[in-house]
């Protein structure tokens, strides 16, 4: 190689994100999971356009049949194609997971960062609020929400997100507390940067590793919770579908029509596994002490 070029490359160095990316790529399980998730996204997002059926289209003559060339995943009791319903259900489930996680991320990060940064009385009050909320059985709260305000998809997102920010707030608070005594925070203060600038420009980006990891682990948890709610009949309502609802339907008739449980159940399980593995991989990759 041209020596000048070699020097050029050396000077480039590696940023923290490049390092993390390199470590993540070495983790086969995480890479495999990411591929599975990408395929799953493609499947549920693009799938319904390709399949000639719609998720609510009934064909009573074809009701409750096992997999066939026409209906790969079979049909349900109302003669709806299970393949397209699984795809549609996946859309809803992933959407719930992502949006509720976004809600929990926003509240949790802001709340935790403020609590950790100001410390003292502010921290004591904010964290006692979190402690109290922790004690309340949150599924009960979500159920109450849904019963009081009626079932709607939007409410489901907000309710699930609003109860899952507590741990995020605690994690961010802990990170911010340990970071706020760093010299770069003193330096920023000495340069006249205000509180908001220090919190959101200096502290939160430094805690991003933990935040991302916890967020990836929140997505599958929220999806499970949605499945649980739908199973109870409080989540998504037919003819709409989510993986949780499809599994619930399938479980009711698993002895006679096992395909109704197997297909959505399998996809849900695979997705949850993949998200967990990716989260673990990200945690390892973003930990600078793992630098090898």
């Amino acid at each position: 190689m041209n020596p000048a070029l070699a020097i050029e490359e050396e000077v480039q160095g590696t940023s923290l994100w490049q390092d993390a990316w390199r470590r993540l790529r070495k983790n086969r399980m995480a890479v495999f999971s990411a591929c599975v998730l990408a395929a799953m996204f493609l499947f549920v997002v693009a799938g319904p356009w390709v399949v000639p059926w719609s998720y609510e289209q009934q064909d009573l003559a074809y009701g409750a049949q096992g997999p066939s060339w026409q209906h790969w995943f079979g049909t349900d009791m109302h003669g709806r194609d299970l393949l397209v319903r699984t795809m549609h259900g996946g859309r809803i489930s992933l959407l719930v997971g992502l949006l509720a996680t976004a809600v929990s991320l926003t509240i949790g990060v802001v709340y935790g960062a403020i609590s950790g940064y100001f410390g003292g009385k502010v921290d004591a009050i904010l964290m006692r609020v979190v402690d109290v909320l922790y004690v309340i059985p949150f599924m009960f709260v979500v159920i109450l929400f849904l019963v009081l305000f009626g079932r709607s998809l939007l409410l489901l997102f907000v309710a699930l997100g609003a109860v899952s920010w507590l741990t995020m707030a605690r994690i961010v608070r802990g990170q911010v507390m340990s970071l706020k005594n760093s010299e770069f925070v003193d330096a920023a203060r000495a340069a006249g940067v205000g509180h908001a600038g220090i919190i959101f420009r200096h502290l939160v980006p430094n805690a991003l590793g933990s935040i991302i990891v916890y967020a990836t682990l929140t997505i599958p948890r929220v999806m499970l919770e949605e499945a649980f709610l739908s199973y109870l009949g409080l989540g998504v309502q037919a003819p709409d579908a989510s993986w949780g609802l499809l599994v619930a339907d399938g479980a009711n008739s698993m002895i006679f029509l096992p395909h109704m449980l197997i297909f959505p159940g399998l996809l849900l399980t695979v997705t949850l596994f993949a998200l967990n593995f990716l989260g673990d991989g990200l945690r390892d990759a973003l930990d600078p002490r793992m630098k090898s």
Binding site: S15, F184, D186, A188, R189, A190, A191, G192, P205
Partner: protein, 322 residues
């Protein structure tokens, strides 16, 4: 001292703890001449940095307590003004350089962002204009190829270059007072000389004053005009560089000078360390805190803290034996 930029009187920084109040700074007074350099000298834990943290409002209150008879900077009292005003001064009229540029620069922000942030906070300039100013300042502090380096992260810079970035950051708003907290301690000796030279040049060009916090008397001799020697949270001796080096009055100052190698010394002359350790700031002994280590200690030293003797304009010493 006709033209004084900052005049600090009787500054205290206390941290109440379970076993008594920790008096990190316990009645410090000094003046910073306009356009000149004051060196604050002392061992680790003597309260040098805490003095500046207290003045700039960087001491967390509570638990810390900062009070005193005044710290007049350009006609305003730093101790009496609201925090908002102090924040407006910080980074603008008074800027600070930290010891360890590795930890004092945010590892997650590019150099550009850390520089433009300062301008945004004080000048309200648009990002693009701020970037141009940042580039100009990087060039001024001697960073080669600023255009290519401004978008890099701190860890992609060498120690000396990072310290230059810190200096650029501090000087962006052309401060009247630059506080350099051990600016060269973390650097190689050759780089130290370069950085000190750079600081001197820039100070001359911008006409700013400097407070140089250091434990390195060699650095003091080369850069400072006036010196304040600190021990256990107090200034024990003040004077010009010449006075302090040629006619030190306080036994502690003499001890410090005796423990530094000098080129003009006789070959066989030995370096004499000061025995013992500085006292715990939360358990200061009665009287003079230096008496346990002092070769000139007498009975009186245990009774009361020595009065400050005024030897001339800006020349003071606090010692019963002096």
């Amino acid at each position: 001292m006709d033209d004084v930029l900052l005049s600090v009187r009787n500054l205290h920084v206390h941290y109440p703890g379970d076993d008594g109040v920790s008096k990190a700074v316990d009645g410090v007074s000094f003046d910073v001449p306009r356009g000149g350099t004051l060196a604050i000298v002392g061992e680790s834990g003597s309260g040098k940095s805490q003095t500046m943290y207290g003045l700039l409002g960087l001491v967390p209150q509570p638990p810390g307590r900062v009070f005193g008879d005044g710290a007049i900077f350009e006609g305003e009292d730093l101790l009496a003004m609201p925090e908002k005003r102090r924040r407006a001064l910080r980074g603008d009229r008074i800027a600070m350089i930290f010891q360890d540029s590795m930890t004092a620069l945010n590892p997650f922000l590019t150099v550009e962002r850390q520089l433009t942030e300062v301008l945004e906070a004080h000048r309200g300039v648009a990002r693009k204009a701020a970037r141009a100013e940042a580039l100009e300042m990087l060039r001024r502090v001697g960073i080669p190829d600023p255009e290519g380096r401004i978008d890099q992260y701190p860890h992609q810079f060498s120690g000396g270059m990072r310290q230059r970035v810190m200096i650029a950051m501090a000087l962006l708003c052309r401060p009247a007072l630059l506080v350099a907290d051990e600016p060269t301690t973390a650097l190689d000796v050759t780089i130290q000389a370069q950085i000190l030279e750079l600081l001197k040049t820039l100070q001359r060009q911008l006409g700013s004053s400097t407070i140089l916090i250091t434990h390195d008397l060699g650095v003091v001799a080369g850069t400072a005009d006036r010196v304040a020697v600190m021990y256990a949270g107090r200034v024990v001796e003040r004077g010009t560089v010449h006075e302090i080096f040629e006619a030190p009055r306080h036994p502690y100052t003499r001890g410090l000078l005796a423990s530094v190698p000098r080129l003009d010394a006789q070959q066989k002359e030995q370096l004499v360390p000061i025995p013992g350790q500085p006292p715990d700031p939360s358990r200061l002994p009665s009287g003079c805190p230096f008496r346990a280590r002092c070769p000139a200690a007498r009975a009186r030293c245990a009774e009361a803290y020595p009065e400050t003797t005024r030897l001339g304009p800006g020349r003071e010493v606090s010692c019963w034996a002096a």
